[in-house]
C-alpha cells in the first residue's frame, strides 16, 4: 500500500500533527501492521520538500508542543490525481484500493467513481488477456486463465465494496 498519499489524505481530512496521524492511520489501515512514528516523520519531511504540505505552527499539548501541518493546493492536486488514477492489477492492489476508497469516503470525494475507473482498468486487462488466449497453446492458455481468475477475484471485491459504499460511509462518519 502507498503510505505517503494515505497520510496526505488523512492530513487533508484534518489530522494535523504526527501523533494524530499515527492514531488515525493505524485505526483505518494499520490493523495488521501499525505505522512507525519514524516513517510518519520521514514522510512528513518528504511531503514538505515536495510542496504537498506546509507547517502551520505549533500546538501546545500535554507533552512537547506539536507541529501542525496543512495540505497545500499542490498537495490537493496530487491527492486528487492519486485517487482518480487506477492501479495496475497486482497482488498489492487491494490494500491500495481499500485506502483510496476509505479516503474518498472521508474526504467526501467520488468513491463510486474511483471504483468504476478501477473496474474498467481491470476489465481492459482481462480483455487483453482474453485476446492473447485465443490462439495460445494449451499450457499458455492455462497460465492466462490463472491470471484472469486472479483479476476476477479483485473485481468481485470491487463489486462488493461498491455495493457497500453507503454503509461504509455511514460507519466512517460515525467513527470520525
Amino acid at each position: 500500500m502507498d503510505k505517503a498519499p494515505a497520510l496526505l489524505g488523512l492530513i487533508a481530512d484534518g489530522a494535523s500533527h504526527g501523533y494524530d496521524l499515527k492514531h488515525r492511520y493505524d485505526a483505518y489501515f494499520g490493523a495488521e501492521r501499525p505505522i512507525a512514528f519514524g516513517q510518519i516523520y520521514s514522510t512528513i519531511a518528504r511531503m514538505i520538500r515536495d510542496g504537498y504540505i506546509e507547517p502551520l505552527g505549533e500546538e501546545p499539548g500535554a507533552g512537547p508542543d506539536r507541529k501542525r501541518y496543512g495540505v497545500t493546493a499542490t498537495g490537493r492536486e496530487h491527492l486528487r490525481q492519486w485517487l482518480s488514477t487506477p492501479d495496475e492489477p497486482s497482488p498489492t492492489l487491494q490494500s491500495n484500493l481499500f485506502a483510496k476508497t476509505v479516503l474518498a469516503l472521508l474526504l467526501d470525494d467520488d468513491a463510486d467513481g474511483l471504483l468504476d475507473v478501477q473496474r474498467h482498468a481491470h476489465l481492459a486487462r482481462m480483455r487483453d488477456l482474453t485476446t492473447a488466449k485465443h490462439n495460445a497453446p494449451m499450457l499458455e492458455r492455462l497460465a492466462i486463465d490463472h491470471a484472469l481468475f486472479q483479476i476476477e477475484a479483485d473485481l468481485r471485491w470491487i463489486d462488493l465494496a461498491s455495493a457497500r459504499l453507503a454503509d461504509m460511509r455511514q460507519e466512517i462518519l460515525r467513527n470520525d
Binding site: R80, G113, A121, H122, L123, M126, E152
Partner: protein, 240 residues
C-alpha cells in the same frame, strides 16, 4: 471530484448503429431507467454490466424494441424504433434483431434444425430454402450432427449454440444477448462465447451483451456499467 476520466460515455458517432437518447422507464414507483444515453457502433460488441436490479435487462428490452420506454428515443440502423407501432416493432425485430437468452428458450418439441429455421419461415421464406440455410448455420456452429435432436436431448452448451444459430440465421443488424452463458459451466460457456463471437465478427454483426460476469465481458470490445438506472463510469478499450 471533477475528472474527465469519470464521465460516462454518451456521445453518438457517425458510425453508430444504435443511438439511444434520454431513456426513462418506470414500473410503478420503481424507476428502472433514469436517463440513459448510449451509442453502439456498427460491428461493435458492447458488454452492458451492472449488479442485479441495476436496470441492465430493462435497458436491453427498451433498446431492442421489446418494451417501449416512458420517454426517450432509440434509433437502430436509421429506424426510430420508439416511433413504431407494436406491430411494426415486431416486424422490425423479426428482420433486424436477433436474441439470445440465458436459457436458450428454444421450442422444446422442435428439432434443432426446425428451431433455427423458424424465424426464416415466419419471415415468409419457403421451407426448403429455410431448412438449407438453417443447416448451414448449424454446421457453422459445429452442430451438424445435432440437427434432428430436440433441445431436451442436447447438452446446455449445444442448446445455447442452437439458440445462437437461430439468432443469426436472419442476418440481423444487431444481436441482443442476455447472460448467454449464465446457465453453463466455465468450459462450456467459453466454447459458446467463442462460437458466438467468431460468427458475429465474421458477419460484422453488432452485439449488445448483457452480463454480470467479467470473464464474459472480456470478450467484448468495451463495456458500460449500469447502476441505479444510469450509466456509470468511463468506457475504455476499443470504442471508436
Amino acid at each position: 471530484m471533477t475528472d474527465t476520466a469519470l464521465t460516462p460515455p454518451t456521445v453518438a458517432t457517425a458510425t453508430a448503429l444504435i443511438e439511444a437518447t434520454g431513456l426513462y422507464k418506470s414500473f410503478g414507483p420503481t424507476e428502472a431507467l433514469r436517463g440513459i444515453d448510449l451509442a453502439v457502433n456498427r460491428g461493435e460488441v458492447l458488454a452492458v454490466m451492472g449488479p442485479s436490479g441495476s436496470g441492465k435487462s430493462t435497458l436491453l428490452h427498451c433498446i431492442a424494441g421489446v418494451l417501449p420506454p416512458d420517454s426517450g428515443r432509440v434509433v437502430i440502423d436509421g429506424t426510430d424504433v420508439t416511433g413504431l407501432s407494436a406491430d411494426a416493432r415486431a416486424r422490425f425485430r423479426l428482420s433486424k434483431v436477433g436474441f439470445v437468452f440465458q436459457f436458450g428458450q428454444l421450442l422444446p418439441d422442435l428439432s434443432a434444425l426446425d428451431n433455427v429455421a423458424l424465424p426464416l419461415l415466419m419471415g415468409g421464406m419457403n421451407r426448403r430454402t429455410a431448412a438449407k440455410q438453417a443447416q448451414e448455420w448449424l454446421e457453422r456452429l459445429d452442430l451438424a450432427d445435432q440437427a434432428s435432436k430436440v433441445p431436451g436431448n442436447m447438452s446446455g452448451g449445444q442448446a445455447q449454440r442452437v439458440a445462437i444459430a437461430r439468432a443469426l440465421v436472419t442476418h440481423p443488424s444487431v444481436v441482443f444477448a442476455d447472460e448467454p452463458t449464465g446457465s453453463l459451466d466455465s468450459v462450456a460457456g467459453e466454447k459458446v462465447l467463442r462460437a458466438m463471437l467468431d460468427a458475429v465478427r465474421a458477419a460484422g454483426t453488432t452485439v449488445v451483451l448483457i452480463t454480470h460476469d467479467p470473464r464474459t465481458a472480456a470478450y467484448a470490445d468495451r463495456e458500460v456499467i449500469v447502476r441505479d438506472g444510469r450509466l456509470s463510469g468511463a468506457s475504455r478499450g476499443g470504442a471508436a
